[in-house]
Symmetry: C2
C-alpha cells in the first residue's frame, strides 16, 4: 500500500468490522438461535445440527456484549497502529509506535470490561482464540516451561554447526523441492496452491481451496521449513468435514490446535531423522554442490540446532516457548498497568536477558520485532507455545495407537499420520472446544511434560553428538 493509503484503509476496515459486527449481533439472529434451541437439545451434541447451533450461539453471545462502535474503533486503531509500527521499525524509533499502543491498550481494556464478570481480565482475550481456556491454566503450564527451559537453555554449551543450511540455494529449486516434499505429505494441485510472499501464511478459503505462501531466501533453506509449517495449518483446513463449509464449524477449533498442527509437521515430523532419511537424498540431488559432501547426520543435527537468540520467528524449538512466556507475562502486566507502554522496551529487554541470556541490538530487534501488538489483540501469543505442547501430546497419542512411524517416514509414507489426524482432530472443525477435543484425543488436559521430555531428549542427542 502506498503510505497515503493508510487512513483510508483504516476507515474501510472500521466500517467493515462495524457492519459485520452489527450483523453478527443482530437481535434477530438471537431469536433465530433461540428458536433452534429445541432442535439442538433434541440432537446428539456432536451432530452437525446441534453443533452448528451451539457454536453459533456461543459466538453470538460473546459478540453481543461488545458494541459495534467499539469493534469498529478497534479495527481502525489496529490498522493505523500497523502503519505506525512499520514506520517505527524503519526509523528504529519506538516513540512513533508508543501512542498507538497506548490507545490500543485503552480499547483492549474497554473490550475486556464488556465481559464482566471474569476471573482474570486476560481470560477474556485468551477466550477469543482458545474458547474456554483460563489464564491460570496457561500460567501454570508456562511456569513449568520456564522452570525447565531456562536452565536447559543456559546449560547448552557450543551450538552445533549449521553452516550447511546456509550458502547459495536458488529459489526455484527450493520451491520445487518443497512441492515434492509437500506432495508426499498430501498436498495436491487440485485443492492447494503455494505462492511467494514476505510473511508466510496459510489460509483455507474452502476445504477445497488451501493457499500456502512462503518466502525462499537465496542464502538459506529456511523457506523449506516454513513450507512444512504452513502445510500443517493447511492440512487441518483441508481435512475439516466438507459439510461444514460456510458454517461456524468450518475452521480449526482454536489457535493452539492450529499451531499444534503446524508444529507437528514442521518440527516433530519435519525435523526427524526418519523423515530426512527419505528426503535428504532428494535434497542432495537438488543441491549437489552444496549438500553432496554433507552427511545426513550432520544435516539433521543442523536442522535441530539449539541456540538462544533475540528474534522469536528465528527461534529453535527449545528456546521458542520462552519467547512466548515473555510476551504472555508482558501482556498481562500491560493490561494490569504494572508495565506501561513507556516501560515496555526495557521490560522486554530485561526478560530477554533473564530467560534467554540475550540482548537485542536495538528496539527493532526488541519490542518492535512482532506485528501482533500493532494489529492483533492480546491473548494470541500464548497459543503458539500451547501449540508446541499440544503437538507433542498428539504425537505421543498417535504413535501410541499407530506404532512407531519411523519405518513409514523412511519410505516416504505419511498417510497414516495424516489420516489419524483427520479422524481424531481435523474433521471435527469447531464441533469440540479445544479442551474437550484434547481430552477426547489424548484422554487428559494440557500437559507440558511430554513436550519437555521431547525437548530434553533433543538437547541430549545434540550434546552427545
Amino acid at each position: 500500500m502506498p503510505p497515503l493509503g493508510a487512513p483510508a484503509r483504516a476507515e474501510q476496515l472500521a466500517t467493515l468490522a462495524g457492519l459485520a459486527h452489527e450483523r453478527a449481533t443482530a437481535p434477530e439472529l438471537g431469536s433465530l438461535l433461540e428458536d433452534l434451541r429445541e432442535l439442538e437439545e433434541g440432537a446428539e451434541p456432536e451432530s452437525f445440527g446441534a453443533s452448528v447451533v451451539r457454536v453459533a450461539r456461543r459466538d453470538y453471545e460473546k459478540r453481543r456484549r461488545v458494541p459495534s462502535d467499539l469493534r469498529a474503533e478497534m479495527a481502525r486503531a489496529g490498522s493505523l497502529a500497523y502503519t505506525a509500527w512499520l514506520e517505527a521499525r524503519s526509523a528504529a524509533d519506538y516513540e512513533i509506535f508508543r501512542p498507538h499502543l497506548e490507545h490500543r491498550l485503552d480499547l483492549i481494556r474497554a473490550y475486556v470490561a464488556c465481559h464482566e464478570p471474569y476471573d482474570d481480565p486476560y481470560d477474556v482475550l485468551l477466550d477469543d482464540h482458545e474458547r474456554g481456556m483460563k489464564t491460570a491454566d496457561v500460567a501454570a503450564i508456562f511456569a513449568r516451561l520456564k522452570a525447565e527451559l531456562v536452565p536447559l537453555v543456559a546449560g547448552i554449551a557450543e551450538p552445533v554447526d549449521d553452516s550447511c543450511l546456509h550458502g547459495h540455494f536458488p529459489r526455484e529449486q527450493q520451491r520445487a523441492f518443497s512441492l515434492e516434499m509437500l506432495s508426499r505429505w498430501g498436498m495436491d494441485d487440485q485443492a492447494w496452491r503455494l505462492d511467494d510472499t514476505v510473511h508466510p501464511f496459510a489460509v483455507g478459503l474452502s476445504e477445497s481451496d488451501i493457499r500456502l505462501t512462503t518466502r525462499f531466501d537465496l542464502d538459506n533453506l529456511g523457506g523449506i521449513l516454513s513450507c512444512l509449517h504452513e502445510f500443517g495449518h493447511g492440512v487441518y483446513e483441508r481435512q475439516v468435514d466438507a459439510r461444514y463449509f460456510r458454517t461456524p464449524l468450518q475452521e480449526g477449533t482454536s489457535s493452539s490446535f492450529h499451531e499444534s498442527q503446524s508444529r507437528l509437521w514442521e518440527n516433530v515430523v519435519g525435523r526427524s531423522l526418519s523423515t530426512w532419511r527419505f528426503f535428504y537424498p532428494r535434497l542432495q540431488e537438488t543441491f549437489p554442490e552444496q549438500l553432496g559432501p554433507v552427511p545426513l547426520e550432520k544435516f539433521h543435527r543442523a536442522l535441530n540446532r539449539v541456540a538462544p537468540g533475540v528474534i522469536r520467528v528465528d527461534a529453535d524449538e527449545v528456546t521458542y516457548s520462552l519467547h512466548i512466556v515473555l510476551r504472555f507475562e508482558l501482556e498481562r502486566e500491560l493490561l494490569a498497568g504494572a508495565v506501561t507502554p513507556a516501560d515496555l522496551p526495557e521490560a522486554f529487554i530485561a526478560k530477554l536477558g533473564e530467560y534467554l541470556g540475550v540482548a537485542p541490538a536495538n528496539f527493532v530487534e526488541g519490542v518492535l520485532q512482532d506485528v501482533h501488538w500493532s494489529d492483533s489483540n492480546f491473548g494470541y501469543f500464548p497459543t503458539y507455545a500451547l501449540g508446541n505442547v499440544i503437538s507433542v501430546q498428539l504425537w505421543e497419542r498417535a504413535t501410541g495407537e499407530l506404532g512407531d512411524l519411523d519405518g513409514e517416514f523412511e519410505r516416504g509414507e505419511f498417510g497414516s499420520l495424516r489420516e489419524w489426524l483427520r479422524e481424531h482432530v481435523h474433521r471435527w472443525g469447531r464441533v469440540f472446544e479445544p479442551a474437550e477435543l484434547l481430552r477426547r484425543v489424548v484422554g487428559g488436559p494440557l500437559d507440558a511434560e511430554p513436550y519437555l521430555a521431547y525437548l530434553r531428549a533433543k538437547v541430549e542427542a545434540l550434546e552427545s553428538g
Copy 2:
C-alpha cells in the same frame, strides 16, 4: 486459485453480491433518500450535497428493480463461467464454455426485463456503464467508425517495420523506465504503486491509494505502453475531489470517460513524437544495445504501426475500434436471439473477416479471446471505442484552450494537460452524467469526426514516411 476452489468462490461471490444488493436496495435507504429530497432541491445541482443525493437516488432506483436473488445468481453464474472460459481456452474447445454463455444470456435477459419499459433492451445494459446513453446513439457513432475505418484499414499497404520494439528487454529495466516516465507524468510513491500481474489494471482504493499493475514481457516493450494506459485510469481516480471519498461520487463518471483517460495518455500523449523527443534518449540509455542504433523517427513510427490482427488487446489505434464494433453488434444480436451461442464462433469469424480482413487460427483466438463474455455483463465493450472517441474530443478542447502542448512535452512537462483534466473532468467524479460532462467540457455531444480525422492523419503520416 486451485481448480477445486471454483464452486466455493462462486457461492461466496453470490452471497456477497446478494447481501450487497439487499443493502443497496433496502426500503429504508429509499425513505432516507426521500427525506433528503428537500435538501437536494434547495442546493445547486453541482454542489456536493445535492450531487450525492441525486446520484445515490439514481443508483438506488435502478438497483431496486432487480431482485437480490437474480443479482446473486448472476454473480454465481459469472464466477462459474469464468472458470469454464479458462478451461475452454486451455482445451481450445468452445463447447466447454457454450452452456455457461447460454445460462448467462438467460440471466441477462431476465435482468433486462426488470427494467421495462425501454426503447432498446441493450439500453439497460449500456446504462450500467454509461448512465443515460442510448443504443441508437452508439449505433450511429459506430456506423460512422465502420464506414470510415473499414476502407481505411483495407487501404493500408505494407505495415511499417516495428522490429525495434521486439528483442531482449530485461523486465527490471522496463520497470525502472516506466516508473521514471510515469513520475514525470505525475505519479508519486506516496499515493501510487506499480506492481506486476498477468492482466494489467488500475484501481483506486481511495484518491490517495492508486494501484497500477502491468506485465513486462522480456521480448517486447508493450509493458511500457500498458503502464501509460493504466496511468490514465489512475490519474482520473487520483484527481477526483477528495471530499467525495466514500460517497457515490468517488469514481470516474463512466467507463467511456475512464477509457478516454487511459487512451489519451497511452495513445494521444504516449505515442506522440513530442513526448518521445523527451523520453526516447532516456529509453536509449536504458537499452543502449537494442535502441542505440535506432533513430527516434523509426521508433516513433514503430509505436504507431497499423496492421489488422485477430486479437483485440493487441490491436493498434486504427483497427481497435472495429474489434469493438464487431462485439457490440454480436452482443445485440445475441440479446435479440438473432445469433445464438451456438452460432457465435462462426459469426465472430465472419465479422473479423468482413471488417478487418483477418481470420483466427482457432476458437481461442476467436470467440474465446476476451474474458468479458464470461464474467461481465454485456454493454461494456462499446465503452472502449467510445473512450477513443472522447479522448480525441477532449484533446482537441484541451489544446484549443492550452495551445499546442508539443513544446511542453518535449521538455518533459505534462502538468498543464494533467491539471486541465483535473479541473474539467477528474475532480467532478460522478457529479455529472457522461453526456452532461462531455457537453460541459467540449460544448457538444459525442462526435466521431475528431477521432476519425486523427486516425486519418496518423495513417497518412505512416504511409508518407
